[in-house]
């Protein structure tokens, strides 16, 4: 082996090591920039998810409000039905109090009102 060979090998090795170190450094810098961009993208997506969660929460609150309103209307409807049934039974009872001859018809406006509430023709009252 020539005398210059080990020194040349060392010099070549140092040059190659420097080149590899420089390339590695450049690669890690590029990778870090890419990771930074990816992280920012994930963070933005998290912000989007946060906005979406806020919308979901608002929808849930609206559904809860409407559910309460529906229940309130159902209670009101049930109360109206009870009142209607009581009114019907009251009419039947009043009819029994009348003499056998043909009873006088109730006032037209009252019959129309009952027809409106019961959604039936006025004759169904009889």
């Amino acid at each position: 082996m020539p005398d210059w060979f080990p020194a040349t090998a060392a010099v070549v090795g140092v040059v190659l090591a420097a080149l590899i170190a420089a390339a590695s450094t450049r690669y890690t810098v590029r990778q870090s920039a890419k990771a930074s961009a990816d992280t920012a993208r994930v963070t933005n997506r998290q912000v989007d998810v946060g906005e979406w969660q806020a919308i979901v929460e608002a929808l849930r609150a609206e559904v809860a409000r409407l559910t309460g309103r529906i229940e309130s209307l159902e209670r009101e409807r049930d109360a109206h039905r009870s009142l209607l049934a009581y009114t019907r039974s009251l009419l039947v009872w009043a009819r029994r109090l009348l003499p056998d001859e043909e009873p006088p018809m109730p006032p037209t406006a009252f019959v129309d009102e009952l027809a409106y509430i019961t959604d039936k023709p006025p004759r169904s009252i009889q």
Partner: protein
């Protein structure tokens, strides 16, 4: 211990933790070079031909830069990876070149591949982790509020 880890994880992120670990490894390696300079004396390993002060710079400066970069957070930690990869690549290549020179008959040290394996692992991990994004998981969905719609 677990709380310490979780706090460090929350503060540094996974990239920062890797930077801290490798920085400590490099600092300890530099400490070894300081206390026992002739560990691989007489072997044809390129970085061993560096004077001791340069070898200390080779280990301690990247370790310090790595620790500093770990505290900066993702997006600003590139100097840490760039600094740590320099000694890792130089040392890994030194062992690889040692093995090549053994095949060329320049040296009789035939086990450069063992050091190459160790430092190639560290080198590869640094390259891989440098491309990690910090977080992959979206935040968990909140618990459903009251007033669910009726079935």
């Amino acid at each position: 211990m677990r709380q310490v880890y979780q706090r460090a994880r929350a503060r540094l992120g996974r990239r920062g933790l890797v930077l801290v670990v490798f920085s400590l490894v490099f600092a300890v390696t530099g400490l070894g070079a300081l206390l026992e300079p002739a560990q691989d004396g007489g072997r044809f390993i390129l970085y061993m031909y560096l004077p001791i002060p340069f070898r200390l710079i080779l280990w301690f400066v990247p370790a310090a830069v790595g620790l500093w970069a770990a505290l900066r957070g993702t997006g600003r930690d590139a100097p840490g990876f760039a600094a740590l990869v320099v000694p890792a690549s130089i040392v890994a290549f030194s062992y690889a070149w040692s093995q090549v020179c053994y095949f060329l008959g320049v040296t009789d040290y035939a086990f450069g591949w063992t050091g190459l394996a160790r430092w190639l692992l560290i080198f590869a991990l640094l390259l891989i982790v440098s491309g990690w994004k910090e977080s992959t998981d979206p935040p968990p969905l909140p618990a459903p509020a009251e007033g669910r719609p009726r079935a």
